[in-house]
Structure formats: structure tokens, C-alpha cells
């Protein structure tokens, strides 16, 4: 009896996608060489899990495919060789076919041509089909039914009889696994009479990799005690104690139930419990908290003005609680970047092979956390930058060796925290950007003044990001480099951030995207200019300074900011927003920055630092390019949030 696929389709999709990520990761590790046993083991288990899930859903074609891949992997495993490039390609193709097959299956397709093709390819490299259909292999998988992936044991059920069934799965990379299994059986023996062990104990003792085994034991011990005993043997990943089998007789046993319901191994030895949640719900929570924070501000204001004694105390407490709630919700929205970055190694690998480049891809800062919604948005631009780097940044191997560089190019994707912002950088050690050519072209198309002698990084970016700039150029080393960069910049701006470029000819190029760590609530300075207040997100704020004779000087009639050793241009906020009128006598300066450029922004007063709930504008509005959104302040009045990056001109 099959379970109703429609009810579980979504869950199946999510779970199987997770397995695919695991598979891809392991395939990449396998390809890089070193110990093949562990990655193979991981892929094997993941395939097995997918097989079981597919069978439960009634997706038989998928289950069979997974089974074939599993068998092929088993042969590779036992062949004890390092898989060669043909094998790797076949395996990658299988993973992709599986992905395609999963999609097709959930949409009701019965077969998937991709799977048939991939299977042929795999069998060509890995040997014959699994003998006699979905059977054979190391574990006694005699066949599986339509419904659940119940592995039926040979006719005379060796584990038949009364007793508790204990299913054990060992950790990947267990040394002398047969002995561990033996030890586990011995430990269980101390609790009662061991009726039988499958695979038989003699097989276990000499086996190279049983991975999972089952014990039937007559005991009065509790499930917890049994589990503890098994785990005391060491290297145990998963234990399942089936107490219900105590009185059951002559029933086929799902030997690998433990393997099917695999839980991801705890990271760093710490076991964390997880719950699945609809993303939309998290967004709703965030919105509600955002509104709550605004209301809190207003209540605090009102209490300050009108409150007394007990009301004041209660308000203070409520304010604290709301603050905590906000913290928790924001934290729960934070997600490590590797969740999105995880698919990039595969991407880079495919792109390099496709383009004939040799690339070493490094990811740094995997644990840096970003707000979930930001992470989703950041993925696309990063993919673009990565492809761009492989395509146009890194030279072909021959060119590199001729230039005295190592044959393989180095591509680094890094995430780092810088105060209230996150920096995501894609850097390569490729050929760099030919500034002279860009300058030439820029002059020709009027992007740059005819008299300019050279381009700084800022202008370089501006030029190559111009749509049509790069593609029109005939010379290959420029073509394509800037394609799509305008989209990347637009995305960064939309998120309240910016993009900067650094490039050295012959040495390499780095694109850096700077985004706020959280999207919905941003830390900002509240500044006053005249009667208006503006929020200046800290993402692009470096520091604040007093306006005085030591900091501000006149040079050729213009005011400039003298900041330690630097002389920076000075901008008046009231001029920027076209307020008119004269500035207050007392002023303050906010030092803002974008990439390497810095400026001083003069405001009448800095009211304070606060968390600002960002309400983005619904649509792009002319003349409001300076602002990225609005917010409601503590006293209920609205304030515009400035897009500080735009103050540096030229997008």
C-alpha cells in the first residue's frame, strides 16, 4: 500500500534535495582525491536514503535508478580504486539525472530519459547491472516492495523469534567496523540473551564495512539502557530499538530502517534539535516584531511624557522583553552563508570544465551569518561574479604557465563581517582588467572626460558595468567582463549595499559586495538637518566627528574635512536633500564610506543610534534615488532612510 504522494510531495522534495546537496558535496570531495572511502560511503548512504524515500512514495523508476547507482557505487567501493575522470563524470551525470528525476517524479512523470541516459553511462564505466534486478550487493537486500523499502531477509528469518530488535548504524570512517560491531553485540549481551545477529556474527567479525547490523535480544532492559549499551562500544551513529518486536513472530524486518531515516550527523559533536518551519512564517514573525518595535518606541515616548510609577515600570519591562524578542527573531532568521555557498563548488567545477580552465576554488567565512532573505538575494549576484571570474578573469592553463603563474587559477569566495555590514568578495588571481583599453573605450563612448589620464577602481567599475560596454568590444580580454555587472550593482543597491572593484593587471581582480547583515532592521544613525530627521544606516558609516577648526578647513574656497592624514570632501546633508537655508552653528560630521572612498557628511545634529525598521519603497521613484526606504520613529513621525552609497556619485 503506497502512501498518498500528494500529501508528502513537498516534504519528499525537500528531503531529497538535501540528500542531493550531500551527494554533490561528497562527489566533489571524491574528485579531489585523497581517501575515497568516506565520500563513497556518504554517497552510498544518501542514495540509499533516496531509494527508500522514493519507494515509499511509489516512485518506482526513481527507486530503481537509485538502486542501480547504489550497486555501481558498491562495486567502485570494493574495487578499491580511486575513481578516474570518466567515473567522476558518470557519477556527476547520475546526480544531475537524479535531480531531474526527482522533479519529474513529483510532477507525475513515470519515467525520466535523463536517468536512463545517465545509467547507461554509469554502467559503461562501472560494470554490469546489479544482478537479478534490485537485489545483490553486500546487505541482504532480497527485494523491495512497492510500499516501504522493507528489506526482506532470506526465507527463514534469522532474526525471527521473540525479543527486542536493535538496529545499529555505524559512523562513517569507523576503523575496524567489524570489531566495533562485535563489541556492540558483546555489550548488548550483558543485558540479556542475544538471540541472533544479522549479518551473522562470523561475517561481522571479518567484514570490512558492515555499516549497519541488527541484533535480536531477549531482555527486560529499557530502550534507553539498550541504546546506552550499544553506544558504549563506540563509533555508533544511530541506534533504533524496536520494542514492539518483542512479541512479534515471523515478520519481515526492515533491516535498514535505521539507514533510511537517517538524521544528519551532528556538527562538531554537538547534537542540536531542529524543527522545520515554513519560511513565510518566519517572515511574518519578522514583520510583526518590526511593527512591535516601532510601537514600543511610541509607547516609551508616551510613557516618558505622561506616565507614572507602575506604568513606567511595566513599560520598561515590556520594552526589554520586546527587545529580547526582536533579538531572538532576528537571530533565528540568521543563516550561515554556506547554506547558499554550498552549491557553488559544483558550479565552479562545471564552469571550469566547460570553459577549459583549471580552477582551485576556495570558500572562506562559511560560518558568517546573514539574514535569510538577504541570503536568497545575494546568491544570484555571486553566481554571476563567479562565472565571470572563471570565464574572463582566470586565464587558460597554457597562458598561465607562460606567464609564470601556477597552472591552476585560484578563485576565492569569502564572507566577512565588518561592523554592521557583511562583505562578500569574489577574487581571482587571473589577468586583471586592462585599464588602458577600458580608458580608451570609455573616452570613445563619452563615459569619461577626454583628458583623463587613468581610471581609478571606482571609475573602472562604472565603465565596465555600463550595459553594452563590454560586449561591444572586439578584444577578447575585455569582452564579457562587465556583462551583467549592472544587475549585480542594482541588486546590491536594492539590498542597501554597494559593490566595489579592485584590479591589478596580470595579478587578478576582486569584486566586493557590501551588504547590511540584516535586511529588515538596520542599525542607523539618526541625523537632523533643519526640522527633518534622516536615518543613516551604519552599513556605510565609518565614524562621526565634531565639526570644528581642527577638522574642517578651507582649501581654495571649499570646505574640506581633515581626518588624521586624509583630506576628504565635505557634503552638507541639507544641500543633498535641497533643504535650503543655513546650517546650524553647531554641526556634526558623519564620515561615510564606499569601498575606498570616504566623505564627510555634515548634519545639524546627531540624535542617536537606533535600530530602524526598514520599510522599503514599493517601486523605484524618480528623484528619490538618494533614499532606500522609510521608517517610523519613536515619536510616530516618519523618517527617510538614506542610501549613503549613492552620495558617492556615478551609481
Amino acid at each position: 500500500m503506497s502512501i498518498d504522494p500528494t500529501r508528502y510531495a513537498e516534504l519528499f522534495r525537500t528531503e531529497s534535495r538535501e540528500q542531493l546537496i550531500v551527494i554533490n558535496r561528497a562527489l566533489l570531495a571524491l574528485e579531489q582525491g585523497g581517501d575515497a572511502a568516506e565520500p563513497l560511503s556518504i554517497i552510498f548512504r544518501a542514495m540509499h536514503t533516496v531509494k527508500g524515500m522514493s519507494a515509499s512514495m511509489g516512485y518506482n523508476a526513481l527507486a530503481e535508478f537509485a538502486h542501480e547507482v547504489e550497486s555501481a557505487l558498491d562495486r567502485v567501493r570494493r574495487g578499491d580504486q580511486q575513481p578516474g575522470p570518466d567515473m567522476m563524470d558518470a557519477l556527476f551525470a547520475s546526480a544531475d539525472a537524479l535531480e531531474a528525476g526527482l522533479e519529474a517524479a513529483t510532477e507525475g512523470a513515470r519515467q525520466s530519459p535523463a536517468m536512463a541516459a545517465a545509467l547507461e553511462r554509469l554502467l559503461a564505466v562501472a560494470g554490469e547491472r546489479a544482478p537479478g534486478g534490485p537485489s545483490g550487493g553486500e546487505l541482504p537486500a532480497a527485494g523491495y516492495s512497492e510500499a516501504a523499502a522493507v528489506v526482506q531477509l532470506p526465507a527463514a528469518d534469522p532474526l525471527g523469534g521473540p525479543g527486542v530488535i536493535v538496529r545499529v548504524r555505524q559512523s562513517a570512517g569507523t576503523l575496524l567496523p567489524g570489531v566495533r560491531a562485535f563489541l556492540a553485540v558483546e555489550k548488548v549481551r550483558t543485558l540479556g540473551e542475544v538471540g541472533a545477529v544479522w549479518p551473522p556474527i562470523e561475517v561481522l567479525q571479518t567484514s570490512e564495512s558492515p555499516q549497519s547490523f541488527a541484533i535480536r535480544v531477549s531482555t527486560l532492559a529499557s530502550a534507553r539502557e539498550i541504546e546506552a549499551a550499544v553506544r558504549s562500544a563506540g563509533d555508533v551513529e544511530h541506534v533504533e530499538v524496536d520494542m514492539a518486536a518483542r512479541t512479534r513472530r515471523e515478520r519481515p524486518i526492515a533491516l535498514d530502517a535505521a539507514a533510511e531515516r537517517a538524521e544528519p550527523a551532528p556538527v562538531g559533536g554537538k547534537v542540536t534539535r531542529h524543527v522545520r518551519m515554513d519560511l513565510a512564517r518566519l517572515d511574518t514573525l519578522m514583520n510583526l516584531v518590526g511593527e512591535l518595535v516601532i510601537t514600543r518606541g511610541r509607547l516609551l515616548q508616551l510613557t516618558a511624557d505622561h506616565g507614572k510609577g507602575p506604568l513606567d515600570d511595566a513599560m520598561q519591562q515590556a520594552a526589554r522583553l520586546i527587545g529580547d524578542l526582536q533579538s531572538e527573531i532576528m537571530t533565528s532568521r540568521m543563516v550561515p552563508v554556506w547554506q547558499v555557498f554550498d552549491r557553488f563548488p559544483r558550479l565552479v567545477r562545471d564552469a571550469s570544465r566547460q570553459l577549459g580552465k583549471d580552477v582551485v576554488f576556495v570558500v572562506e567565512g562559511k560560518d558568517i551569518e546573514l539574514d535569510r532573505s538577504l541570503l536568497d538575494e545575494v546568491g544570484e549576484p555571486v553566481v554571476h561574479l563567479l562565472r565571470n571570474a572563471v570565464d574572463h578573469g582566470i586565464e587558460a592553463p597554457a597562458e598561465r604557465t607562460a606567464a609564470g603563474k601556477p597552472r591552476a587559477g585560484r578563485l576565492v569566495l569569502s564572507a566577512a563581517r565588518d561592523r554592521a555590514a557583511i562583505l562578500i568578495r569574489v577574487s581571482d588571481d587571473g589577468r586583471g582588467i586592462d585599464r588602458a583599453r577600458v580608458l580608451e573605450r570609455a573616452k570613445a563612448s563619452g563615459l569619461v572626460d577626454g583628458s583623463a589620464m587613468e581610471l581609478d577602481d571606482e571609475d573602472l567599475l562604472r565603465c565596465i558595468a555600463q550595459p553594452g560596454f563590454s560586449t561591444a568590444h572586439a578584444v577578447s580580454d575585455l569582452s564579457g567582463r562587465g556583462v551583467g555587472l549592472d544587475a549585480v550593482q542594482a541588486k546590491a543597491r536594492m539590498l542597501g549595499g554597494s559593490v566595489t572593484l579592485k584590479s591589478v593587471e596580470g595579478e587578478g581582480t576582486a569584486f566586493t559586495m557590501r551588504v547590511p547583515a540584516t535586511l529588515a532592521i538596520v542599525r542607523a544613525l539618526l541625523a537632523r538637518s533643519g526640522h527633518e530627521r534622516y536615518a543613516l544606516p551604519l552599513t556605510h558609516v565609518r565614524e562621526t566627528i565634531e565639526f570644528g577648526e581642527h577638522t574642517v578647513q578651507r582649501v581654495r574656497g571649499r570646505e574640506v574635512l581633515v581626518l588624521r592624514d586624509e583630506v576628504l570632501p565635505l557634503l552638507y546633508l541639507r544641500d543633498v536633500v535641497r533643504q535650503g537655508g543655513a546650517a546650524d552653528a553647531q554641526r556634526e560630521i558623519v564620515v561615510i564610506e564606499r569601498g575606498e572612498k570616504r566623505s564627510g557628511l555634515v548634519v545639524d545634529e546627531l540624535i542617536g543610534q537606533l535600530d530602524v525598521v526598514v520599510k522599503p519603497f514599493d517601486a523605484a521613484r524618480e528623484g528619490l534615488a538618494l533614499f532606500s526606504g522609510a521608517t517610523i520613529l519613536a515619536d510616530g513621525a516618519p523618517a527617510l532612510i538614506m542610501d549613503l552609497g549613492s552620495l558617492f556619485g556615478g551609481v
Binding site: 575496524l176 570489531v179 562485535f182 563489541l183 567479525q205 571479518t206 563506540g234
Partner: protein
């Protein structure tokens, strides 16, 4: 080697033995909380030594140190009374985990 790992973790190494016979002798003298034992040793081998030690003290805690490919021997050692095992080359974390398990 194993001794170094244990010492660094704060355990005190109270004695060492070159042969199985010495091991049994020293166990009787020193009554350590834990013994780590190689399988292959001159004179009396590791398995025999475990048997003797366990006969003398049924509560003895012996951790076998083996090399890869010594499955059958390790199984024999466990049947002779060893409580757990570690495999060379030793990974400090694995050794310490095993020690924790044995000491309970």
C-alpha cells in the same frame, strides 16, 4: 605514543612494560585504573596478557592498541577481556573517546 596523548590529557602514566609477562607483573603491582596494550609483544603476547590480567582482576580495564587488518586478533582480545580498542595511527580524539568509554 599513546602514553604521550594520555599524559597531555592530564592522565598519569604510572608504568610501562615491554613484554606481556612484564605487563601482568606490573598490573599486579600497580593496579592502574587503565591499561593500554599492544597485541603483538615479545614473550607473552597481548591477548594472553589480557587473559591473565582479567583472570587476576575481573574488573580490569584494558584498552587494546591494534593496527589495521588485525580484526580477528582484536576480537580475540575482546573475548579475552579487553574492554575496547583503538587503531594505529592514533588520533588523539579517538584515543581519548575510547578512554572515556572504558573508564565510564
Amino acid at each position: 605514543m599513546v602514553g604521550d596523548i594520555l599524559q597531555q590529557a592530564g592522565f598519569e602514566v604510572v608504568g610501562e612494560a615491554e613484554t606481556g609477562t612484564q605487563a601482568v607483573e606490573k598490573y599486579k603491582q600497580l593496579r592502574p585504573d587503565l591499561v593500554t596494550m599492544d597485541i603483538v609483544m615479545p614473550d607473552m603476547g597481548g591477548i594472553e596478557a589480557v587473559r591473565e590480567i582479567t583472570k587476576f582482576d575481573p574488573g580490569a580495564k584494558v584498552l587494546m592498541c591494534s593496527a589495521m587488518g588485525q580484526q580477528a586478533l582484536v576480537v580475540e582480545a575482546i573475548q579475552a577481556g579487553a574492554k575496547d580498542f583503538v587503531v594505529k595511527p592514533f588520533q588523539p580524539s579517538r584515543v581519548l573517546e575510547a578512554v572515556q568509554r572504558v573508564l565510564g
